[in-house]
């Protein structure tokens, strides 16, 4: 039974080419009043381009954007004009918030709507209007404190209020849950439902299939610039969507039961006194051969300190750290790498590769001083290139060749390059910090497969992730980090999303209450 909703947005035959690349290929899309449409697609599928056309940042080569006016009649939107898009009631909540941190919520919301020729500011009418928007939407936030003092969830509410204040009838949300706890996500979904019930049309862009299934009315899937499918959410399931996105069958990552071996890494009451949000307090953890230990938690709760400790970047300020059965005396990244820890950094662009250097040099970066790659201080380019060619082949790194500058690679291929660099050295322990963040499903599957293969081979893995689906699918045991503290590990099979979410949020509630 198709919904007889009035159409508020119609994209017709949208085509956009960048040189030889067709980013959007004759896309047709309708959005009804009060509908939540999930827009799905891998990186590079054309989601961002499509939204940029909608907002007038790009001009489509072909096709038109039609928006319903106040009378409900569809009229073409002036192309290439963000002002026209705003005036037509299109609002956007970006993944990375666009708020001025030193201004209050109120100031952020009215920013840009005031005349620049007025010297004084009268906040009365604005405050009344925001009050009404808050009452209607059920979104509440303290308007009079600087945004820098708001939590991530509250900032997002300010972003949504900003769009609603401008009378948005169509709201585009770009991966809105990426920064939220499961509880905050749930509360966002309640809000989205309420807003939709009042007639707001929502385009929800996400990677997380579980959320898409939970919140959307309809799903549109883009692949390679074209719309490859559209379905009513009630008829869809996780597997069918994933396959539509990737265009082939997605092998499920399965963990085979396996008895863990000797302890590789042992932390006993270890603290790290790092800078703000980089502290680890009295953490105890053991990682054994052939198991994956997952570390769950909302970003910024001490995962960075734990990762820095295991990567060799930070030294403990207290407690005992044993590695491969011996106490650690030398905290040095190079030493840890040579000792057999494969380290996958959280920020692969910032900490993972030197963008200006070639793929070959980046593959060899950890081993420049190893005898295989140098003789008397002179690099052996033959050996380095051969290693890089093997890495490109075995790890399917898509690049023109080993002499390409690493910065020209996509995020997924940079991650494959790092995997090749660290996993090809027969490590005994793997530190994977947010290894699939920002990757598309194909690359995610590849990372998961590699981590599971390492586990099969008897390697111990520490998997730090914010993606609960990933953690529960891969980990044997999971510990939760809150406020720099690490919980006991629990068998992953006994944990569900709700329990984990409560543990992740637990400490923060205590903090707010205190």
């Amino acid at each position: 039974m198709p919904d007889p909703r009035p159409i508020v947005l119609r994209l017709q035959n949208i085509t956009k080419r960048f040189g030889a690349l067709t980013a959007n290929d004759a896309i047709d899309l309708d959005l009804g009043r009060g509908e939540i449409l999930a827009l799905l697609g891998e990186n590079g599928a054309g989601k961002t381009t499509l939204m940029n056309i909608l907002f007038g940042h790009y001009v489509a080569d072909e096709g038109t954007v039609m928006v319903a006016g106040d009378d409900g009649v569809l009229a073409p939107l002036e192309p290439g004009s963000p002002g026209a898009a705003l005036a037509a009631g299109i609002g956007m909540v970006h993944q990375h918030f666009t708020l001025a941190e030193n201004l209050t919520g109120l100031e952020n919301i009215v920013l840009g709507t005031e005349s620049i020729f007025r010297l004084s500011r009268r906040t009365g009418p604005a405050r009344r209007k925001i009050g009404k928007v808050m009452a209607d939407s059920g979104l509440t936030v303290d308007l009079d404190v600087p945004v820098s003092r708001l939590t991530v969830g509250e900032r997002q509410r300010v972003e949504i209020l900003k769009a609603l204040y401008r009378d948005a009838r169509i709201l585009v949300m770009d991966e809105p849950t990426a920064v939220l706890t499961p509880q905050e996500s749930d509360s966002l979904f309640v809000t989205m439902r309420a807003l939709a019930a009042r007639g707001l049309a929502v385009v929800f862009i996400s990677h997380k299939l579980g959320e898409v299934l939970a919140i959307s009315d309809r799903i549109a899937v883009l692949r390679g610039g074209a719309k490859v499918g559209e379905m009513v959410t009630a008829d869809a399931n996780r597997r069918s969507i994933a396959e539509m996105m990737v265009g082939r069958e997605v092998p499920a990552s399965r963990r085979v039961a396996r008895e863990p071996g000797a302890v590789l890494l042992e932390l006993a009451g270890v603290s790290v006194a790092g800078a703000h949000r980089r502290t680890l307090v009295d953490a105890s953890l053991a990682v054994r051969e052939g198991e994956i230990v997952g570390i769950a938690g909302v970003s910024g709760n001490g995962q960075a300190a734990l990762a820095a400790l295991v990567a060799g970047l930070e030294r403990p300020s207290g407690g005992a750290m044993h590695l491969f059965g011996a106490p650690v005396t030398r905290h040095d990244p190079g030493h840890f790498a040579r000792a057999g820890i494969a380290r996958i950094p959280e920020d692969r662009h910032h900490d993972g590769v030197v963008g200006a250097m070639t793929v070959a040099e980046n593959v060899a970066l950890e081993e420049l001083r190893q005898p295989g790659f140098q003789r008397a201080g002179f690099l052996r380019f033959g050996a380095i290139r051969a290693r890089a060619e093997a890495a490109i082949r075995d790890y399917d790194v898509r690049c023109p060749g080993p002499d390409t500058a690493a910065r020209l690679l996509s995020g997924g291929n940079i991650q494959k390059l790092i995997l090749a660099r660290v996993l090809d050295r027969q490590p005994r322990l793997v530190l994977a910090n947010q290894p699939t963040r920002g990757l598309d499903i194909g690359a995610q599957t590849e990372v998961h497969r590699r981590l599971l293969a390492a586990r099969e081979a008897g390697v111990g893995v520490i998997l730090i992730s914010e993606d609960l689906d990933e953690l529960t699918a891969l980990s044997d045991r999971i510990a939760v980090m809150t406020g720099g503290r690490l919980s006991e590990t629990m068998a992953a099979d006994t944990l569900d999303r709700g329990t984990l979410g409560l543990m992740m949020a637990g400490h923060r509630d205590e903090e707010e209450a205190a």
């Binding site: 790498a337 001083r369 002179f378």
Partner: protein, 359 residues
């Protein structure tokens, strides 16, 4: 509206053409102040070219000027590659000269085969040590090396003056603040008969080739590039960032110190406090003109030296100020910076046909 889009890959031809074009633009722009000074412009340019390249003697003078610029240019290029902003080549040059005089003006005597390497080593060591301090302060406490190295230049110059009026003053100088002369066996031999160009030029060329090989072919070079381009990633990969920075500091300071040795032991024969007309600072321009390429430094040093020598001869011929040379050097730095920006980006006039980077 203008859009700037980063170029994917800079072609080698463009990387060379851009600074060459910038040099010519700078020379062309010099016509404006020349016109203001009332000089006949065509004649002025002719005198400049003739002054720098017009005869074997003119060219040998240009090469004499090129010699220290190659070494200070290399000093800046190596350091800047690692994002170590050594602005102190001027001071390191004086430190090198001072050490060469201290060792080579009679303290010890020996055959040239001993003495020449000895003064070179002493000079390089002094320059290197002078750069070590600011680098350690940067690594330990985060002290900005731009400030510390720049200020050390003045400290070093005053120290040289103090030494020239004290312990190192030549007793035969009748009170002039100058050092005792370098002994003959420690002097760098001249290259062309009675002309001033000396074998310091060869040292500069060898150093340029050696630095080029080091940067491209060795573990050290790869580590320096990694640290300079992305220090966090280098550190994460286990590259010893501190050791690399110290190594760069020593190489950079050492090269600048060698420039000082060349000036006293190749050219002047004794040390005065006006040994360098700013070779250390000009080295920064040379390095930027060269795009930090060690072999490019040689070409850029030749260009800057010919501007100085040519402008000198022009100012003598026409009676305009020789500060014009400084002006051209400054203009060429600006032109190179602008040119570098232009070559890194495609400039597009946005319209309907505006192309944008793939999201």
């Amino acid at each position: 509206m203008i859009r700037f889009e980063p170029r994917q890959n800079l072609s080698p031809a463009l990387a060379i053409a851009a600074p060459v074009a910038a040099g010519f633009v700078a020379l062309a722009l010099a016509a404006i102040p020349l016109a203001f000074a009332g000089a006949p412009i065509v004649e002025a340019y002719r005198l400049m070219v003739e002054g720098a390249f017009g005869s074997l003697f003119a060219f040998s003078e240009t090469l004499t000027r090129t010699t220290p610029l190659i070494l200070t240019g290399l000093a800046a290029a190596v350091a800047f590659r690692a994002r170590l902003w050594n602005i102190g080549a001027e001071g390191q040059l004086y430190a090198g000269a001072l050490a060469a005089v201290a060792v080579g003006s009679g303290l010890i005597d020996g055959p040239p085969i001993v003495m020449i390497p000895l003064v070179l080593l002493a000079g390089a060591l002094a320059g290197a040590l002078l750069m070590l301090g600011p680098t350690l302060l940067k690594l330990k406490f985060g002290a900005d090396e731009v400030v510390t190295t720049l200020l050390l230049n003045f400290v070093m110059l005053l120290f040289v003056q103090m030494m020239l009026e004290g312990p190192l003053q030549d007793p035969m100088s009748l009170g002039w603040p100058q050092s005792a002369p370098i002994i003959d066996s420690a002097m760098l031999p001249p290259l062309l008969g009675r002309m001033r160009v000396h074998s310091g030029l060869l040292i500069g060329l060898v150093a340029a080739v050696a630095v080029a090989i080091m940067m491209r072919r060795t573990v050290w070079g790869a580590e320096i590039r990694a640290v300079g381009e992305n220090a966090p990633a280098a550190r994460y990969a286990g590259i010893p960032v501190t050791a690399t920075m110290v190594r760069v500091a020593l190489i950079s300071g050492g090269l600048a110190g060698l420039a000082g040795v060349g000036e006293v032991a190749g050219l002047k024969g004794y040390l005065t406090s006006d040994l360098s007309p700013g070779f250390g600072y000009a080295g920064i321009v040379v390095a930027m003109l060269a795009g930090l390429s060690p072999l490019g430094v040689v070409a850029a040093a030749l260009f800057i030296a010919s501007v100085f020598v040519g402008a000198d001869s022009m100012s003598r011929g026409l009676g305009v100020s020789s500060y014009l040379a400084d002006l051209i050097v400054a203009l060429s730095l600006l032109c190179v910076l602008i040119g570098g920006f232009i070559t890194r980006f495609h400039i597009r006039w946005a319209g309907r046909a505006a192309r944008t980077v793939r999201p």
